[in-house]
Subunit: 155 residues, 2 copies
DNA sequence: ACCATTTCATTGAGAAAGTCAACTATACAC
DNA sequence: GTGTATAGTTGACTTTCTCAATGAAATGGT
């Protein structure tokens, strides 16, 4: 079977029960987007995960590691690894929070800001592909709805 | 910090650059949906992955492992494990494809169909939660757009 | 009919990611 | 002050991902 035939098979399968399942669609769309994003960031030595951390840190929020873990739904130990990696490359730095000396506030370095700016452009370009199938208006609608699903009002 | 304060922090952060990033939103929405789905399926000894396989197999498509791998974007070796697991529980069975004896067609057992029906209901119920924030019309719109993103026309 | 190439399922190795239980230092409530 | 709770860290362990290699079977060219 050639690649295009495999594609045809997948396409013809769109008439099945799984394809109507939003959670399955979400997983697949995420896989596409994650793949494109990681590929785009590879030259910078980043992945979507580490980029998300870097971007949050560069937003002037000075988050603690705990806040990063909550926001990104990561185990605190994963945040340790991510920050270790970014800090070892001098993209961010840990600063003990003087108001609560248990926690560490993460601050971007100048280099971190620079890398983040480049990463942002690469990610933006990479996102075009998966979302290119939607018109600009559809894309806005989709993003708005998605944001509400991703951040339910409360729970 | 209490849980609700952490929630507040996350909520207040919605004014940052990452939150506008569709790929990040997709990742987060997927994490929510995956968590809910896996929790709902745990009593049946399934996960969202294995359920996706079982559901496809029960759709009367008689897919080969290769087709499952393509469709679910999995490495063929992962499909081996998934089918091993389902087959060991007599939910599906491998049948050598007589038209191409290299490949194996996966067929559901009666028990597989039964478990799948129950799993479908559980997944449906679990999906309500993440999507409950949308009105029925919004939900339809969202699903339709998501389906196009997840299955781009061709590439 | 033969040979080279390709594909499918499988195995196994190694990397990456997720989960969980301790532990230290610090903060907070009483 | 003392007990309890939290932030970060470490380490163990499991799961998942990614890749290379292999045997069996199909395909195409000559």
């Amino acid at each position: 079977m050639t690649d295009s035939e495999a594609q045809d098979t997948a396409a013809s399968w769109q008439l099945n029960s799984v394809t109507e399942d939003p959670s399955f669609l979400l997983a697949r769309a995420n896989a596409l987007s994650l793949g494109a994003g990681n590929a785009a960031l590879r030259p910078l030595g980043l992945k979507v995960r580490s980029y998300s951390v870097l971007a949050l840190v560069c937003d002037g929020l000075y988050p603690t590691q705990r806040e990063l873990a909550d926001y990104l739904r990561l185990d605190p130990s994963q945040v340790v690894s991510l920050i270790d990696d970014l800090e070892s490359r001098d993209l961010v730095e840990r600063r003990t929070d003087e108001r609560d000396r248990r926690s560490k506030v993460i601050a971007p370095t100048g280099e971190g800001q620079r890398v983040r700016a480049e990463a942002r452009e690469r990610v933006r370009a990479a996102e075009e592909a998966p979302l290119a199938v939607l018109s600009p208006e559809e894309r806005d609608t989709f993003s708005a709805l998605l944001a509400r699903v991703a951040f339910p009002p409360q729970r």
